[in-house]
């Protein structure tokens, strides 16, 4: 009982509650640009949590995350899409969107499970490069399997709906406290629920028994096996779970974009996912949330407010730094700086600044020799 009380009083928990309240109220105060940016961040957060579970806890460096996100996104469009209508000639099954979402996530999981015999065989760095191969092969398929993916032009994402409540503009019309709830506002709450689930499940996976088993696998596979951890099974499982996270991230991305194209799921996306979890601190779910928010929102913010920043040039005008490039400079530098000065991620800077909480809420990590 008293333990629970101190946990409630700890600043981390307070911050979490405050954040939850603020994010719930966001649609009432902020304009559409912020909602859209926030939704992109939510999609990134889900994917980053999945990658940090894989890379951070088991030490498997994967750059295939964009591929599994693509499987999720295209899977959703295929399962939910009607097909044969409008410009897009891509086929679809026309299933209810919620079912399509679940199936798409499962499909990503299956893709991950199929790949896991390869990923389980390969150690660290070999897996990293082999997984790049998966991204390129995936791109090739996306461009060429036009019946399923719409090829170069991509395909439309069917709007989400739940028990007859549609997540589109006006059907049914909904006004709460003088704010009209159209597509973005509705998706916002869907995104929050998904992020909440992903966060909750991720924390329990990392902090619980599987997480400890996975960390043992990372530190020494032999020791893990001796302790009774089925190394191959755990590696396959975590790869599957991580792929499902990526898939869910892809589904949300498709819903926000309304339309998906192969270009969105290239190597850049994988590298960005990796940047997110490195900046947040490998293996930390909370860090993944921070890193994902930073990496995914920065380019959009710089693009939107670039005019009022003196050192930025408008895109295409030449001279100065374009907003997109400034964002890439920022997160490239952030990766290097974090690894140089705060290997545990930006989250650890907080603890370092507040030494009193560092000892109570988390034990300091031992330095490896």
């Amino acid at each position: 009982m008293s333990e629970r009380l101190t946990a409630m009083r700890s600043p981390g928990r307070l911050v979490l509650v405050a954040l939850a309240v603020i994010t719930l109220l966001v649609p009432f105060f902020l304009e559409a640009f912020w909602l859209q940016t926030g939704l992109f961040a939510m999609s990134a957060i889900i994917g980053a949590i999945g990658l940090t579970i894989l890379t951070g806890t088991t030490g498997q460096l994967s750059l295939a995350h964009a591929f599994f996100a693509a499987v999720g996104a295209y899977g959703y469009c295929y399962f939910a899409g009607k097909g044969g209508l409008g410009v897009s000639s891509a086929t679809g099954l026309g299933l209810p969107p919620l079912l399509a979402m679940i199936l798409a996530v499962l499909l990503s999981g299956v893709a991950g499970a199929i790949y896991s015999p390869i990923s389980g065989r390969l150690r660290g760095i070999y897996l990293g490069i082999a997984s790049i191969g998966l991204v390129f092969i995936g791109q090739h398929i996306l461009f060429n399997a036009a019946d399923l993916t719409g090829g170069f032009n991509g395909r439309d994402a069917a709007p989400f709906s739940l028990l007859g409540f549609s997540f589109t503009q006006t059907d049914p019309e909904l006004v709460i406290a003088g704010v009209e709830f159209s597509e973005l506002e509705r998706l916002w709450y869907l995104g929050l629920v998904l992020v909440g689930l992903a966060y909750y499940y991720g924390r329990h996976l990392v902090d619980g028994r599987p997480g400890r088993a996975l960390e043992t696998v990372r530190d020494s596979e032999v020791a893990a096996a001796v302790m009774g951890v089925d190394v191959t099974r755990y590696k396959a499982l975590v790869f599957t779970v991580s792929s499902m996270y990526a898939g869910l991230s892809g589904v949300l991305l498709a819903l926000v974009f309304n339309r998906i194209v192969p270009e969105s799921f290239g190597l850049n996306l994988s590298v960005e996912f990796l940047a997110m979890i490195v900046i947040g601190g490998l293996g930390s779910v909370r860090g993944a949330v921070l890193g994902a928010a930073f990496v995914s929102m920065l380019p959009k913010l710089l693009d939107h407010y670039g005019d009022s920043l003196p050192f930025l040039a408008t895109a295409g005008a030449g001279g100065g730094i374009e907003p997109g490039q400034a964002a890439r400079f920022a997160f490239g530098a952030a990766i290097v700086a974090v690894l140089l000065f705060a290997p545990g991620g930006i989250g650890t800077l907080w603890h370092r600044a507040r030494p009193s909480t560092a000892t109570s809420s988390s034990t300091p990590k031992e330095k490896s020799v």
């Binding site: 030490g59 460096l61 390869i118 065989r121 390969l122 150690r123 660290g124 760095i125 070999y126 990293g128 490069i129 082999a130 790049i132 191969g133 998966l134 390129f136 092969i137 791109q139 090739h140 398929i141 461009f143 060429n144 399997a145 990372r218 596979e221 032999v222 590298v271 990796l274 940047a275 490195v278 490998l282 030449g318 730094i321 374009e322 490039q325 890439r328 400079f329 997160f331 490239g332 530098a333 952030a334 990766i335 290097v336 690894l339 140089l340 290997p343 990590k365 490896s368």
Partner: protein, 296 residues
């Protein structure tokens, strides 16, 4: 048949260029256990420097300066930044090179903009004929230069004191250090050589038949990843064999694209990765790589 032989010869010459790049990966991996994701940017940097300097200095001098510049930047990346990167996982430094790659690639893309630069090489679009077979002059030059460099490198690696020290420190760093080998200097040397090889590779990746240097030229160097991996990341011989395999595969899948169109358009860009994944399925450490043994 003529087409087949022609493609084979062209593939081999391209393969030597990939071998130079793959050798850079292998050098860096052997000495510092890092995969250098910034390699593509260093390739682009070398080519960019040469293209900028060639009009004023002439191609040969510009090439020398460009190669030296790329080598210096690679060594500095290691010496100034990567050497100090700390972290629990062994792959931390590799991830740091991704960060450096983003920085370098973005700056180069900003400098190049939408331009397509000409590297100012003397070969142009001339074609040499060997009997029935035609081959671009630039590709002949590529094969000759790459062969000389690879031969020189292998000789130095096997025979010179530097090569012995390099191999010793790769075999067992601690024992090497106790024997008086300066590991940091060896590692910086490996990065220096890798940078120089990358720039030479960059010259031949951007001469005819490719249109020139644009902001995405560094991506072409990514095809050297599969070359290094399928040969085995810690094998010098593997880098050469891997490079040749990838070169032939790329050229063949581009040359016969009409015959294999059922596999989709643009197959030559993914073919290296397909070959790599297939090889890794059978041999997880590449063709010539040392298998990782587990000792308890």
């Amino acid at each position: 048949m003529t087409q087949f032989v022609e493609l084979l010869i062209n593939g081999i010459s391209l393969g030597f260029v990939y071998a130079l790049l793959a050798l850079g990966f292998v050098m860096i991996f052997k000495s510092t256990r890092v995969i250098n994701f910034a390699h593509g940017s260093i390739v682009l940097l070398g080519a960019f420097l040469i293209a900028k300097l060639a009009p004023s200095l002439g191609f040969v001098l510009a090439a020398l300066v460009g190669v030296a510049g790329a080598a210096l930047v690679a060594a500095l990346l290691y010496f100034v930044i990567l050497r100090r990167v700390r972290g629990r996982a062994a792959d931390t430094v590799t991830i740091a090179t991704i960060g450096l790659d983003i920085l370098l690639a973005t700056e180069l893309a900003r400098q190049i903009g939408q331009d397509v630069l000409n590297i100012g090489d003397p070969w142009g679009s001339e074609v040499v004929r060997f009997g029935d077979f035609a081959m671009p002059e630039a590709r002949v030059a590529a094969a000759v230069v790459a062969l000389l460099l690879l031969g020189g490198f292998l000789a130095a690696f096997k025979l010179s004191p530097w090569g012995v020290a390099m191999r010793a420190s790769a075999e067992d760093g601690e024992a090497g250090a106790l024997m008086g080998i300066r590991l940091t200097r060896m590692a910086a040397g490996a990065w220096l050589v890798a940078g120089a090889l990358a720039a030479v590779g960059g010259i031949f990746l951007t001469t005819f038949p490719t249109p020139g240097i644009d902001r995405t030229s560094g991506l072409a160097a990514l095809s050297a990843f599969p070359a290094a991996i399928l040969g085995g990341l810690d094998s010098v011989l593997g880098a050469v064999v891997g490079g040749l395999i990838i070169g032939v595969v790329v050229t063949m899948s581009a040359g016969y694209q009409d015959e294999i169109s059922f596999l989709g358009r643009g197959l030559s860009q993914v073919a290296p990765y397909i070959v790599m994944v297939l090889v890794l399925l059978v041999r997880p450490s590449g063709l010539f790589g040392t298998r990782e043994l587990t000792r308890v």
